[in-house]
Symmetry: C2
Subunit: 226 residues, 2 copies
């Protein structure tokens, strides 16, 4: 009984660390885009620190998961939970990496006059941030409906990415002086799109964990099917 | 003894499936870039099929790993091997995804006159392909030196990515008619760079598996250190 309680506490600890990582990732997205919109470098100055904390958490979570697998030898739901935790861990670490890529593009833009008022990119960032939050919320609550909502939101992010590209292409073609800035914005939109992809992966992991059912490649015919 | 033999056979099976995935990913990279260089759509026509096979293998490998963890409750090296296999599995699936993104950019270019003779992008593709191959070779042989070589190659891929961007920017600025094509090539170089990143992740997983030592964030100070 005591062992079970200790095990449960360790699982809770794992959850808390993942939530902390996700909260950091959210703040990183917010700050990076705020720096872009407000054109104020100080807004995002803590982002590299946050990323380091995410990296530390990633290692801690992997080690904790490995220790749990080795010492508790969990099966069934607990096993699926721990496997999901290690996958979500990797997704969150990549999301933080992508925010670092975004800040690099933002720094390219910092020294130059603004190209245009930014609407779609902050909107993409807001959607991506919400996807990250909701996917983790879905994980801790084992809420597959919320996980499905996250997956569906990805279409909106993708549509915005295409819209951003189309609009920026017209700027580039009309005025070569805009090319470098427009390209930086295109890359930012791509990084945001990938953050959405990672949140989608988390949503899929949650559904797999909860239902023991793989939704990652629904259109892939399985060789075992008739 | 018999159980141990069965377990070993299952681990071998896992290895084989990962090698098959990596071989598919390699062929996909080759074909996608050959289509780009040779400007012949038929060269890469099997790429979507290969990606479907990669997706099927991903699910099979995850299920096999989960079954091994649940039924064999491995510890120490075997446990680290299985955890590495699930991570490598995810990396390979993403590499295949990225090749699909590359073929989309290649299709944008297909209907238009060639922008320039391609040198750096095929070189990047060759490096990325070799990184994928070597990282899996390092995994099956538990060869940490080879894994380190993979990680070092990533700097060359990154340098080529920067070079591609600089060169294509000059085309775009000199002639707005080149913008759409140049942008497609920039995005291809980004996708190749990310394939290199995923192979690097595999290399790091191999070192972690072999040495029980995390090399993913060497510059991150651990909170437990003085």
């Amino acid at each position: 009984m005591d062992t079970q309680r200790q095990f449960d506490r360790q699982l809770e600890e794992l959850k808390k660390k993942l939530l902390r990582m996700a909260a950091l990732a959210e703040v990183m997205i917010d700050k990076a885009i705020a720096e872009l919109v407000e054109r104020n470098e100080r807004v995002a100055e803590k982002v590299p620190e946050y990323e380091q904390e995410v990296n530390r958490l990633q290692i801690e979570i992997d080690e904790a998961a490995l220790a749990l697998l080795a010492t508790q030898q969990p099966v069934a739901r607990d096993l699926r939970f721990i496997m999901a935790a290690t996958k979500i861990n990797a997704e969150l670490e990549r999301i933080a990496d992508l925010v670092i890529n975004i800040t690099e593009c933002v720094h390219v833009l910092a020294g130059q006059p603004p190209l245009k008022p930014l609407v779609d990119i902050p909107r993409m960032a807001e959607l991506a941030r919400k996807m990250v939050r909701d996917s983790l919320e879905a994980f801790v609550r084992e809420d597959t409906l919320l996980a499905e909502a996250v997956i569906m939101t990805d279409d909106q992010v993708d549509a915005l990415k295409d819209q951003v590209l189309r609009e920026l292409l017209t700027y580039m073609i009309a005025d070569p002086q805009t090319i470098e800035r427009a390209l930086a914005l295109v890359l930012i939109s791509r990084h945001l799109e990938r953050i959405g992809d990672h949140a989608t992966n988390i949503g899929e992991d949650v559904i797999y964990m909860a239902q023991g059912q793989d939704v990652r490649h629904p259109k892939t015919p399985r060789p075992t099917e008739p």
